[in-house]
Symmetry: D2
């Protein structure tokens, strides 16, 4: 996961980039960075933390120029240093180049080993550095040619924004695995992982960058835009998990509004796994709300916000020594006893990964008096790791990789458990976005050979 | 507004108080404090900021003892110093005493002037200090008598928790204006502004502290609890705004669950102000969600989360110099164009104070394509200031104090505007909590004479 | 210890106060505060930490007005709250009053008990609050009369700056225990604990506030200055420890420059305790430097900075688990082996309190090769606690309270140990400042009866 | 400037490295970093700020292993990002390698251009990255061979510590421009820029790393030490400015104790530029103290600490709008009027770069009453830039590059001005350390051809 944002030809390019990154904060909270340019020099600020904390009027003022790219990094277990924050900057025979990457290359290790044998050095663990090495080694004099040369060698998921003193370039991989959209503000181009970033800054949404497309904005020619198709178009393999969970509900991604898709997933879920004896439909907020509305609409059962989510959770929490039952989940989610007491309920969530939170929540609901709990998941069982940019745990930690639905139901203590079928998911997603999805995390069918597994 | 929490006879009294304050964070975000005791000395920590930032394992460890009280303070315009943070500590002939107060005294100025004439000094602007002065001047040797002596002189709203080396005392004013509930954890007493604090720490809800009741926990006698009625019972005047907006939806307040009340307010609102030609019901999240569910249920119109709220808003924000239309509201609330486009919609909110946010939101919805916007408010017009602890603006800033509903509708740009009637509000609130509410902010009818207006 | 600073009739009163407090930082590092006024309202900022960290352009800009007082508080063991920071603010029948206090009242406990019996409440542990209570209870309508009324009841050490909307008042106790000096900037009055604060802001030093004198600046009458003698003059008892250790060497205190006094103490020390067989004189930096220069001059032995002090010491330090010999002292003080190796040396310091640092330093010097170490202290043995504002340890922790000079010498491991005699100290101090000193910490002879010992 | 520290075979390697960096804080305050290893993995922490603030018990605990290297970076004007902090880490065909560098390569730009033409990318502006590229491109399988291969291509100043899973390597350039010393702690090797780091951790000083020497500690063979001479020995060109200013006075650098050298420079200065009519010798503290002691000793004039330095200076300072004369220098340095009034004085400082501080200080001394001011500088005029790691300003900003001594004297307003002669400096330095110094900043005679000037 991660977010990227880019803008050209604006008086306050870095301030607008900061707002765009803020709107995309849900895609990455570990740290953020912006590189801006006045067409000559680059200006860089990167830091660990949230967008609203990192950027100040002072450091935005130092990010001069008319064009900028930015990046939010998803929180991972990795080290104490900030080497992995993006955009990554390099200086090479091409001059300075900044790059922001959403996605993951599956042949990064193979390429890294080859590059190391040839004498290259790596200063981060990010696969993005591989692209920069390939560009620098291309012997191409021109940034655009160097990018094409480099990307022809990589396999995997990438939505990229690349900035130098001459160009802002937006590229999406040939299979379109990760999203990337394009809009305009006062006639000048703007790019983002999701359209919600355009809403905040008052830009208009135009279209998706096409899979395999490269959009080049010429900073020296009045920010004119040219589109190329340097890569053979692959089979369309958009990440279906963007629909299920990752994108913001108010975003247009893969040409459709996420909210509607999620609601439709809820309807399909109700069709496949009816509520049995349930009297109410209750979402696990916030992410389960949209599917629950669809489930309620299809099943004609009342929709109730029977679980309240606290939004004041900080980074760390001082747990009392004496155990409080279901403490972790209680901090975030509190059932309303008055709603669930004595009721048979359908609880709708959008995923079930390790199962520990669901288990605690169900226990918490029972303590609040729910008589029966039918858990419904608006996605198929997550049984496989993702190698294309979603931070799923190792396969061994995925409950569904080694347990049947029945045994999962028993583990979490639900009265019934229903997952949306893969067919149901793909049917709903295809209705709004057309066919062509990667569903590797559900099916194990990956869009590319996996030559390296970190 | 403000939150109070108290606990006695627990091994980790201060850690549990910290968790209780965390659950009550919505009632006050300016700063917090805890006073604990081992039955001899007091231990104090107060700071500006959010509960999750203020308290660390290190400073909680220093808050020793088996009993504690805590306070969250609501953000106000006041000064740079931390004098107004609570619990307030004093040393007097009674020994040390800590006090945490939710509410506001309406005769504080009169009492302050009297006390100053007698040579008292005040070190904060908080009316709570008046209570301490009255206690100290009582000539009573015993804390309980001193409290009764003091409170017999004050008029207004107060839910109080008072701690010294011998007692933890909980008191609610004779009219029961502000809430205060009681529960138990492992058989020992716990007190909070709202029951949701009990859910987090695994305590059981027992009952409301009665209006005019004083509950005394004896720290030296195994935390036994005695209940007194030292004050004449007044006419019940509970703050109806707790039902409308202030309390958490998962809390039991005034003996009923807030969620149900709000949903019923939505139903009543739909009865009084039907949706006209609307096709959808959309809440202003988060606080409008519950009334919108009720409105949808009664009106049979579909409920849609057509406005998405961002939860990453920080304290300050760097606005770009070039104006972005409706910038302030966009940072928090984003309509989903795909839901509202071409639709006539009912938008449900729980209050309309100055009208500026509603005006911007309606413009933002129109830009997103809504064809008609019917704003419905699940409360009567806020036309009067509150003198009992809710931080309403001066009357002159309250749009409804000087404008008719029609002129408010025109100002905010809605196609129609409907407020819940005062009768409708009181009927719904009385159904769940029995009769007896203060509705001064709507009606101007105050429960006490107002002898001082600051 | 503590520092006070006050200024009237200046465009940037709070900024100049901030600089004055910065120059007086050595007198207190726990926290600081400023109260300013425009002749109507007070503006307050107080915080824990160093002056340079507490005050920002933003919060200084909010400290409006032409007059201000400020305070640095000395670090003490006390609690986590900021109640004890000064200036203390009160509101009473006199209106608002701010007070900054350097010194300590010895009858504070007696007065506190009396006030508590009469119904007063105390919110800090500072004796300064007693003065405010006495002022408020005076029934005087006028600030000046109220101050005189209050101070006639207190016994002990006080240099005070008091600000309200009408006056800035500077007072020094009748025995002149703590210093307070007066200067002018562009013809308007300025006050400080030490003259070094005037140097920084370009003000001219004029004179000491006399013992028992009250200087009143009228904010409403063009900042004119009037001087009163409301208190009977007591026997002069200025704190001789200001000369020995506490004041900055570049300050004029008690009408003489500290640097010269300290150098003369070193000469006297050399006279009383000659260097025996020593070849070099080495100070313990920074405070021992000035006496060492005098010792070197009198003894004709070369002066060498044979111990280097690090100025990068932070608040806390992560000590390795494996013990490093003399770790604590090594962080601050490092002998230069090349200077001390094989040499018999005189080491000059200005005090020896618990003896632990001296013991470690001597061991460290021996490890660096010193053949003989003659420790010389430019003050008598510290054998008694101070009750007048210097934070000496309890008498039981004072090595000299229970050990002879010989046994101290053996404990710290010096080859010889010489303390300046009390007579020698008083003779040197009297030569520059005239007679009349408190030497309670050396002699146990206190200037007032001690009615309370905290 | 910069500091490096390395240690092998210790239980608390990272904690000892932290202490070593703390002792070397004077060589660099911009930021610091540590890389440690357990012989397998690297553990890294780098941050901007002071050593005492960067490292906490928590992050030191994560720096596991028996061996570590660390680096303090000198504050420069450079960007907001932390890319330039050291040790620099790389991964290449050699595996992971960490490197800490004190010095500057003069052919870095030439090598960078060559490497870029061959397809290398650079992620920092530090010349250290060049060394890593050359190592990685060496095709050597062994770290030691790769280092030798790389360093044979670079020209300039380098003291290096290099760590991987097998080795800790210490190298000093063939001309010995920057210092690097070796010691032992419990029989295991330790390295540092200056010996003062050994004093703090209780290690014994052994010797300098010889110019052109490489000392290899084998982590897998019980931390045995082998010494090589892979580079031809060049003409000895040690930085004479280490003697004059940069090293700590208590350090052994270039085989002699800095304190003695500085004192001898003061004696030589007195010989070359006698005090004329002066009555006192006063240092500009802290750095001028040692030469002033020597000047005083030789000239038989009394030494007085007539200027007091404040050690509470923070990063930024809020200057009042109304100008205070000589504000900047007053914050740090305050003359004692009582010492200088009516006196002709010699003021001793160790350098005069732009002249602005000296000019203000002299004015400040005159305002304090000094009748004559004879400025003496214990080094020759700084007339040339340094390309070997000292952060001198551009030549155009060096007062002495374009002004005669007479015209400098007039500019700063001294009555007389005397610089130590280059011959005098070299004679003093050679007496203690033997011949062979770089004096480029004074003479413009550089030890290597300068192929690139940034």
């Amino acid at each position: 996961m991660c977010a990227i944002f880019g803008i050209a030809g604006q008086q306050e390019a870095s301030n607008l980039t900061y707002l765009g990154l803020h709107a995309l904060q849900h895609r990455g909270q570990e740290g953020s960075g912006i590189v801006s340019t006045d067409g000559k020099l680059p200006f860089v600020h990167k830091e660990r933390g949230l967008v609203a904390d990192i950027f100040t009027a002072t450091n935005i003022a130092k990010l001069e120029g008319h064009s900028a790219i930015g990046h939010n990094r998803y929180s991972t277990a990795g080290g104490n240093t900030s080497e992995n924050l993006q955009p990554v900057m390099m200086k090479s025979s091409l001059g300075w180049v900044g790059i922001a990457h959403n996605g993951n290359l599956v042949n990064a290790n193979v390429l890294t080993q080859k590059l190391e044998r040839e004498g290259s050095i790596f200063q981060s663990t990010a696969d993005t550095e591989v692209i920069l090495h390939l560009m620098a080694k291309s012997q191409e004099k021109d940034l655009i040619n160097a990018i094409v040369h480099a990307l022809k060698q990589v396999v995997g998921a990438y939505s990229l924004l690349i900035l130098n003193h001459d160009y802002l370039v937006a590229i999406r991989d040939p299979q379109g695995i990760r999203p990337l959209v394009m809009g305009n503000l006062h006639g000048k181009p703007v790019f983002a992982s999701e359209s919600t970033a355009f809403d905040l800054i008052g830009a208009n949404y135009e279209r998706e960058i096409n899979p395999g497309e490269m959009v080049v904005v010429s900073l020296k020619e009045n920010f004119t835009v040219k589109c190329f198709r340097p890569f053979e178009k692959g089979a369309l393999k958009r990440c279906v998990f963007e629909h299920v969970y990752f994108a913001r509900p108010d975003s247009v991604v893969f040409s459709s509004t996420i909210y509607q898709t999620r609601k439709n997933l809820g309807k399909q879920l109700a069709k496949e796994h009816p509520p049995l004896d349930a009297e109410l439909v209750i979402p696990v907020p916030d992410s389960g709300v949209y599917a629950a509305i669809g489930y309620s609409e299809f099943s004609k059962l009342p929709f109730e916000m029977g679980i309240i989510r606290s939004h004041y959770i900080g980074r760390t929490f001082i747990e009392p020594k004496q155990s409080i039952r279901d403490f972790g989940v209680k901090l975030k989610l509190n059932p309303i006893a008055d709603i669930v007491r004595g009721k048979s309920i359908v609880v709708v969530d959008d995923s079930l990964v390790r199962g520990t939170t669901s288990k605690k929540l169900i226990q918490h609901l029972r303590n609040s008096g729910a008589s029966k709990i039918h858990l419904r998941i608006s996605a198929p069982p997550t049984a496989h790791s993702c190698f294309y940019g979603i931070d799923t745990p190792n396969k061994t930690e995925l409950l569904a990789s080694s347990h049947s639905v029945d045994s999962i139901r028993d583990f979490i203590g639900a009265d019934s458990l229903g997952y949306l079928s893969l067919n149901g998911l793909l049917q709903v997603a295809s209705e709004v976005s057309g066919a062509g999805f990667c569903h590797g995390c559900f099916s194990g069918e990956y869009p590319t050979p996996i030559t390296t597994i970190v």
